[in-house]
């Protein structure tokens, strides 16, 4: 390869790195200002007391799609029902599960099918029925279970839930997510305090692997002790406490996580609901909501709150991580093909002029450039043409900068009300940040590129099941009441694993 190619690439990489590092510093400063504002004016206890007493507190619906979740569905629904908020309902959408998800819900919550007049405001796969409890337990009365034909995507199930909810705002979450007890108070407050219409609220999410959960409630949040979920926890924290908080400050949020986010129901319906064909349905939903608001000339806000409100189980191994990241990579690529008209478009305000170009250059293109970088380094190594006197300074600088970011997010987390009870738990974050740039990040680059290639080639994608290990429980699991029950549980587990295996095979095929 001619020398000028190396030189050109070196200068390009230098400029690209300088801008990307500059943007991180800029985001960290914006996030600092936002956290300071939050710290100055927000008081969780005071807010909760005010909302508890008031008849003006708006109702919230929680929509949680469930597909083959028989292992965890009961505990998780109990967790959702035990949230603290004066007026909320829980809508579980059984998306045509092939296991005993629906039966277990019916048995445990004394549900009966009711004649519900289902109005399809957003098109979904056929609705089969709606279940309400006949029990006198007031907590159970908050529960609604929607049964529908499997739509193959979470988006379709979420849309069915949106069709049924009765409140102005709904929280979209996964059945396996563990929510903070006061999460709903925290989520609703920005919609009430803002002078502009808040169309979506996002909150910080963390990994539940390694934490202690009792009856579906987070008892002791702890960092995961496995490398992959730990690295992902660090990545999430960095993204929520720096990236999203900074973007929220300038009203340029790109995404409200599909795992836990609150949306304005009216805007979601007018924007057409979740897109079942999208691999990044959450990002796509926010883009379409913003498009609707901008097209109709209305002012809006998408808000990120810094407190941790939700814990979700992260990929436990590389296989699942591969599936997740490939889908995300694919989704990002697909997103830009669908919403390319919003890019550099002034009509879409900060979103079109800042957020989308930033994502395009520093998120979509980053894996490509990084991959080229790895290729260059290997090629230089082969030719023994690396300047060892300078490269160590470059690596050291990057490494120190990564550590600085980690220390910054730890201090932000402590500032906004730490999620870990033991401060020493943050040492796990430090450990992860030492290893992450060497192992976790390069692998993610490869998975993302794999997603791009699959999207370009148009390979059909099968939505694989997320393999769950389940979080640690503070209580010992209850023994089955009878041998028959134990046998049926074993049989169900075997069937589920066979199902997973089959889907894996399909995916490979």
């Amino acid at each position: 390869m001619p020398e000028w190619v190396y030189d050109a690439f070196s200068y390009f990489v230098m400029a690209y790195s300088a801008i990307i590092l500059g943007s991180y510093v800029f985001f960290a400063i914006l996030a600092f200002l936002e956290h300071k504002k939050h710290y100055t004016y927000h008081d969780d206890d005071y807010t909760i007391e005010e909302l508890k007493k008031s008849p003006y507190t708006p109702g919230i619906s929680i929509v949680a799609p469930a597909y083959n979740e028989e292992k965890t569905v009961i505990t998780n629904v109990q967790s959702l029902l035990s949230l603290d908020y004066p007026d909320f309902e829980v809508v579980i959408v059984n998306d045509g599960s092939k296991d005993r998800t629906l039966e277990l819900l019916i048995e445990n919550f004394e549900l009966v099918k009711v004649p519900y007049a289902y109005i399809e405001k957003i098109k979904t796969k056929p609705f089969k029925g709606l279940y309400k409890t006949k029990s006198d337990n007031p907590a159970f009365k908050r529960l609604t279970v929607v049964d529908k034909v499997n739509g193959g995507t979470k988006a379709d199930a979420s849309n069915a839930g949106v069709n049924v909810v009765s409140n102005k705002f709904f929280v979209c979450t996964d059945v396996d997510c563990v929510l903070e007890k006061n999460a709903l108070y925290r989520m609703i407050w920005p919609t009430m305090a803002s002078t502009r219409r808040v169309i979506a609220v996002s909150a910080t999410m963390r990994m539940s692997n390694g934490s202690l959960v009792e009856d579906g409630k987070m008892v002791d949040p702890r960092p995961p002790h496995d490398f992959i979920p730990l690295s992902q926890d660090l990545e999430y924290t960095r993204s929520f406490l720096i990236g999203k908080t900074a973007l929220s400050r300038i009203n340029a949020m790109q995404n409200v996580s599909g795992g836990f986010g609150m949306f304005d129901r009216e805007v979601v319906i007018k924007a057409g609901g979740y897109d079942g064909d999208s691999f990044a349905e959450d990002m796509d939903m926010v883009a379409r909501m913003i498009r609707y608001m901008c097209d109709s000339g209305e002012d809006y806000r998408v808000v990120q709150i810094p407190e941790t409100c939700c814990w979700t189980e992260g990929p436990p191994n590389f296989k699942v991580l591969n599936r997740q990241r490939t889908r995300w990579g694919r989704g990002l690529f697909q997103f830009f093909t669908v919403h390319r008209d919003m890019l550099w478009n002034r009509d879409y305000r900060q979103y079109g002029m800042f957020t989308l170009p930033y994502i395009l250059i520093f998120e979509l293109l980053a894996p490509v450039i990084e991959f080229m970088g790895y290729f260059m380094v290997i090629s230089l190594l082969v030719q023994w043409a690396i300047n060892w006197n300078t490269i160590w300074i470059a690596f050291l600088g990057l490494y120190v900068f990564a550590q600085l970011l980690t220390v910054t997010i730890i201090s932000y987390d402590v500032w906004v009300g730490t999620s870990f009870k033991r401060r020493t738990d943050y040492l796990w974050f430090v450990l992860a940040s030492l290893l992450e740039p060497l192992f976790y990040h390069p692998i993610n680059v490869f998975f993302s590129l794999r997603g791009y290639v699959k999207q370009i080639l148009g390979t059909q994608m099968v939505w694989g099941n997320m393999t769950r290990k389940g979080v640690q429980s503070a209580k010992k699991p209850a023994a089955p009441a009878s041998v028959a029950q134990a046998k049926s549980a074993e049989a169900a587990e075997a069937a589920a694993s066979a199902e997973n295996k089959k889907e894996e095979e399909n995916a490979h095929a």
């Binding site: 003006y56 009711v114 519900y116 007049a117 309400k132 300078t390 300074i393 600088g397």
Partner: protein, 397 residues
């Protein structure tokens, strides 16, 4: 021999110079990068040290709060729940406080969580006079005055919130200094404080402010303030007067109408009806309709029916619900509802009308049964939905 002691900045400069001269043979980009790395390192160490200090301070604070709780909580509770009004000296003696008791700001801060906790739990049963004296003995009013006057924005805001949380008080001159400050959050807190404890006409500031931003957050807080005033026998505002003032914030007018509804001020209904007749703004009209319907003001029925045909989608739904709430048993109104049920194409409105008809007394029940027999089979699901006790059809949207 002379020893020359360098300042710490000189040492820092010295290390930077070493770094600089060691890197002189490198290209400028590398030198800039090296400086960047050094700055990152220094920042990182400072942040870590800052965090450590913060964590140590926080745990010391927590320990102090716990100590106070153990030492005073039971005694303060006992004083606050005593029916007989006690003298400050007696309280001081009971709490084992020295005669010339003085408090430092930090010590006062350690009392705050305990006092808030006690007030939240026993506030309704407390002897207010004793409670105020406890606060006085612990020098809380002076502490809050100092906090509100402090330079830190957070301290000011937190002080206002704490005062509200434990029913303490501030000097009026101190509290009123932020009523028109540029910082909207601080301004709101100061105004809320004035509204909670003011004796003359504390809400005047809301009506006189042409730049008022009245968010839902304020709606919640002002309602709680009004509940507090009512519970403590303080003067309540004339809400209808708020609506008639020009120029007044639209949100504030809606809030006033909602408060009339929540405080059941039936004497304001005639004036609200005349407002509805002249109102063109949808949200304000909806608030009026909801209030008149909720208070079952029968003379409004005629205006509701007149308005219905030209009303917007949202307003129609409010009108249908309000007619159901008034439930006067007027056959003409029932006929009107029935006709609209048969004409409307919107499923949500249809459900709402059907529910209203069913709840419209005996004649409504009869009309409902007749409609059930006469309407096409496709409507059957609506009837089943309405009749099912397990579904809360009032929440159907």
């Amino acid at each position: 021999m002379d020893y020359y002691v360098l300042s710490r900045y000189a040492y820092l400069k010295y290390y930077f110079l070493i770094l600089y001269y060691r890197l002189t043979e490198y290209p400028p980009a590398v030198r800039v990068w090296a400086v960047f790395t050094a700055v990152c390192l220094i920042l990182m160490v400072s942040i870590v040290l800052g965090n450590v200090v913060r964590v140590i301070r926080a745990s010391a604070d927590n320990r102090a709060v716990e100590r106070n709780r153990e030492k005073y909580a039971a005694k303060v509770k006992e004083v606050a729940l005593t029916e007989r009004t006690m003298e400050p000296a007696e309280i001081s003696e009971l709490l084992n406080l020295p005669k010339n008791f003085k408090m430092h700001e930090r010590q006062n801060r350690h009392f705050v969580p305990m006092l808030i906790e006690l007030y939240r739990r026993y506030g309704s049963e407390m002897n207010r006079a004793n409670w105020q004296r406890v606060l006085q003995v612990l020098k809380m009013p002076a502490y809050f005055d100092a906090q509100v006057r402090s330079r830190s924005k957070r301290k000011r805001v937190v002080a206002f919130k704490n005062v509200a949380d434990m029913d303490a008080n501030l000097k009026e001159a101190v509290a009123s200094r932020y009523l028109f400050t540029k910082d909207r959050k601080l301004q709101n807190n100061a105004r809320l404080h004035a509204a909670r404890f003011g004796t003359s006409y504390p809400f005047k500031v809301l009506l006189d402010d042409p730049n008022l931003v009245f968010t839902e957050e304020m709606v919640v807080k002002y309602h709680n303030v009004l509940l507090y005033r009512q519970a403590n026998g303080m003067s309540m505002p004339n809400f209808i007067h708020w609506c008639n003032r020009t120029p007044v914030n639209e949100e504030l007018r809606i809030f006033a109408i909602n408060e009339i509804r929540l405080f059941r001020r039936r004497e304001d209904c005639p004036e609200m009806l005349s407002m509805l007749q002249n109102s063109r703004e949808e949200r304000f009209s909806c608030a009026l309709i909801r209030a008149l319907g909720d208070m079952e003001y029968v003379p409004a029925e005629k205006e509701f029916c007149r308005r219905y045909l030209s009303a917007s989608y949202t307003e129609r739904q409010q009108l249908a619900t309000a007619l159901g709430q008034i439930n006067s048993g007027n056959p003409e109104v029932l006929k009107f509802l029935e006709d609209d049920f048969l004409q409307t194409t919107d499923a949500v409105t249809r459900m709402l009308l059907l529910r209203t008809i069913r709840g419209y007394g005996e004649i409504g029940r009869e009309a409902y049964e007749r409609l059930k027999r006469e309407t096409p089979k496709a409507f059957a699901i609506f009837y089943e939905h309405i009749e099912c006790d397990l579904i809360d059809s009032s929440r159907y949207a």
